[in-house]
């Protein structure tokens, strides 16, 4: 076996083969160690892949030696190599973090199933990102979604509402997937191909009702999956009642992968020749992105449950990504890609901090955070630092995102959008500030359910959490890493889409 030749398929095949083996392991520590090891291997393969793409450019891998467009092709450029590294990186941190948290939150008899589902979810997300085949995207999207439904439902051990929120997500997610596959079907009917690059060539100059309807179905379908503002209703409950480790994993990865799919379809499949892309940017993504930024942030302000607050904040942050995307410039696309990466880092760290609080207090309501700085200082500062990153304070990744987004807004002639971005960041300051005030300034409760003696969270949770917090600062200072790669990815996407460089 030539490792370099087979490298492109490894990030998908490693977790895929490992997932069923998890089921044969004994209950207890073994499934967790196995899943963590596999996530690290996957991460290593993804990093190797990023380096390879960086050196040699586009990689095309033919599954089963069938040449595209007939066979399934894995097509890796900088844009999806970055997302692959992000997803597997988050997985390697969250899987390592999960053990203690999962042991108290999930029924112990389900621990093998839990880690198996986590690995399948990872496989699905990696597959969606890596593939160059439109139908394959649907298959992997369903693989990741189905395992996510099961993972969210496992939160029922602590709160039965996890079952209804999982079912709600199942209904909405399935509608999304159905719309997506109807869209793919219409495109297939119009062109006779499913390969993305081939679709792009054959769609050039075609603009009829069937392609337009296909486009609309795909945008709405993916919009449901990525929780685009009015289609986000499944998200808050799903993130709130899922086991904390699952919330951290899917909040940092699932919606990001969906944003990537949207970018891929807009830029690599349809391109700017297709007039609807421009319309969708101007009349759909721009207003919905702006509306999401504000309305979801305002809703987040009034939540008494920290996990639900972070969930609404995620909807708002997706607004930023859609906004950057809708400028249809290299700067905007770069801002969007950078924010995909950075938001994963900050939301992952925030949800992990909440998971530590849940581990000790058993609750994620705002009251449980009172006086936490005195009782769990390490967790408190992790939350505050990643919260600052979410707001966009300099020296954190959040600042880099906002900076790229603001420059892009001015460059694209949407100066008003720049002011709105700053304004909605101020709302983020308020809702993170509420939690920070609760943790720093309030006295620990002397009576009530949270008046229990608390220790700091165990090291097995603190270390992975601080790795992610450190990444928030590191990538906030070393902007050349993510920024340059994202700029080059955006330029390549823009070139393929036929837009102005």
């Amino acid at each position: 076996m030539n490792l370099a030749e087979q490298l492109p398929v490894l990030p998908v095949i490693i977790p895929l083969v490992a997932a069923p083996i998890t089921l044969l392991l004994p209950q207890g520590r073994a499934p967790h160690l196995w899943a963590t090891l596999i996530s690290w291997l996957t991460f290593a393969a993804s990093i190797a892949l990023v380096r390879m793409v960086n050196d040699t450019g586009l990689i095309s891998y033919h599954l089963g030696d069938w040449a595209p467009p007939l066979g399934i092709e894995y097509r890796i450029d900088l844009a999806n190599a970055l997302v692959l590294a992000l997803v597997s990186g988050i997985a390697s941190v969250v899987f390592a973090f999960a053990y203690r948290s999962v042991r108290v939150e999930v029924d112990p008899r389900q621990s093998t199933f839990f880690y198996c589902a986590m690995l399948i979810c990872l496989t699905g997300l990696m597959g969606v990102t890596i593939t160059g085949d439109a139908f394959n995207v649907f298959v992997f999207l369903e693989i990741s979604s189905l395992s996510t439904y099961a993972l969210i439902a496992m939160g029922a051990n602590r709160d039965r509402r996890a079952l209804t929120s999982s079912f709600n997500y199942l209904v909405m997610g399935t509608i999304g997937a159905t719309f997506f596959v109807i869209g793919i079907g219409l495109l297939y009917q119009a062109t006779g191909t499913l390969n993305m690059a081939d679709l792009h060539d054959r769609l050039a100059g075609q603009s009829n009702r069937m392609v337009e309807a296909g486009f609309a179905f795909i945008v709405v379908g993916i919009g449901l999956k990525l929780a685009m503002f009015p289609l986000h209703l499944w998200l808050p409950n799903a993130y709130t009642y899922a086991p904390s480790a699952v919330s951290a994993f899917i909040a940092a990865t699932a919606t990001k992968v969906a944003v990537y799919v949207l970018i891929r379809f807009f830029y690599s499949v349809f391109g700017f020749d297709f007039a609807f892309v421009g319309h969708a940017f101007t009349y759909v993504l721009l207003p919905l992105g702006l509306a999401g930024m504000f309305i979801a942030s305002l809703v987040a302000l009034f939540q008494d449950d920290v996990k639900r607050m972070l969930a609404y904040s995620s909807v708002a942050q997706i607004g930023y990504m859609l906004l950057g995307l809708s400028f249809a410039t290299v700067e905007g696309l770069t801002a969007s890609l950078v924010h995909v990466l950075n938001h994963a880092l900050m939301k992952g760290a925030l949800f992990m901090a909440v998971a530590c609080v849940v581990f000790r207090t058993g609750s994620h309501s705002l009251q449980a955070f009172a006086g936490l700085a005195k009782r769990m200082p390490v967790t408190t500062w992790a939350f505050i630092l990643s919260g600052l990153s979410l707001i966009g304070v300099p020296l954190t990744v959040g600042f880099i995102s906002k900076w790229y987004l603001l420059t892009a807004a001015f460059a694209a002639g949407h100066g008003y959008a720049a002011f709105l971005i700053v304004a909605s960041s101020l709302i983020a300051l308020v809702y993170i500030g509420r939690v920070a005030e609760m943790m720093l300034l309030r006295e620990p409760p002397s009576e009530g359910p949270y008046a229990i003696p608390l220790k700091e969270a165990p090291l097995s949770m603190l270390i992975p959490m601080w790795v992610l917090v450190a990444a928030n600062v590191y990538f906030g200072v070393r902007t050349d890493l993510t920024g340059d790669l994202a700029t080059r990815a955006a330029e390549a996407l823009m070139l393929a889409a036929g837009g102005a460089p």
Partner: protein, 146 residues
């Protein structure tokens, strides 16, 4: 002898159903059929058994734990074929390397046979697991337990 006709019919039909499943399975590589259909038919034999003799008897013949192992083995059969072709120097699921130098792509024939076998085992055990869980479901949760 209660329901004697049902019992005898089930016993007579059981083996031919499995034989038919195997026929569909091994016919599936170049003709209509294949692992998915075969797996369903295979599971149907056991579902018929459960209808007639009760779920407990079927679970004695084919315990839940065995089904999980079968699911895993089936999937690993499929994925393992892919990994094996990688180790032999081809791409994932590039069956031609199984019989190198074949003039009529014999490797494709063997490869699909192995993969379909994995599909069949997984589908049969998954169908039965779903059936076990639906029919063996505990009564509804008490309002108090919510």
């Amino acid at each position: 002898m209660e329901r004697a006709i049902l019992r005898v019919t089930t016993k007579i039909f059981f083996a031919p159903i499995i034989l038919y499943a195997l026929y569909v399975q091994f016919h599936g590589d170049y003709g209509p059929g294949g692992g998915f259909q075969a797996g369903i038919i295979f599971a149907v034999a056991f579902i018929l058994h459960a209808f007639c003799f009760g779920l407990d008897q079927t679970k004695k013949a084919l315990p839940q734990r065995a089904l999980i192992v079968a699911m895993v083995i089936g999937l690993l059969f499929y994925a393992g074929t892919g990994v094996a072709t990688m180790l032999l120097g081809g791409n994932l699921l590039g069956y031609d390397v199984i019989v190198p130098g074949s003039t009529h792509h014999a490797g494709q024939h063997y490869g699909i046979l192995l993969v379909e076998w994995g599909v069949g085992v997984t589908v049969a055990s998954t169908m039965l697991t779903i059936f076990y869980h639906f029919t063996g479901r505990e009564p509804d949760i008490d309002q108090e337990d919510w």
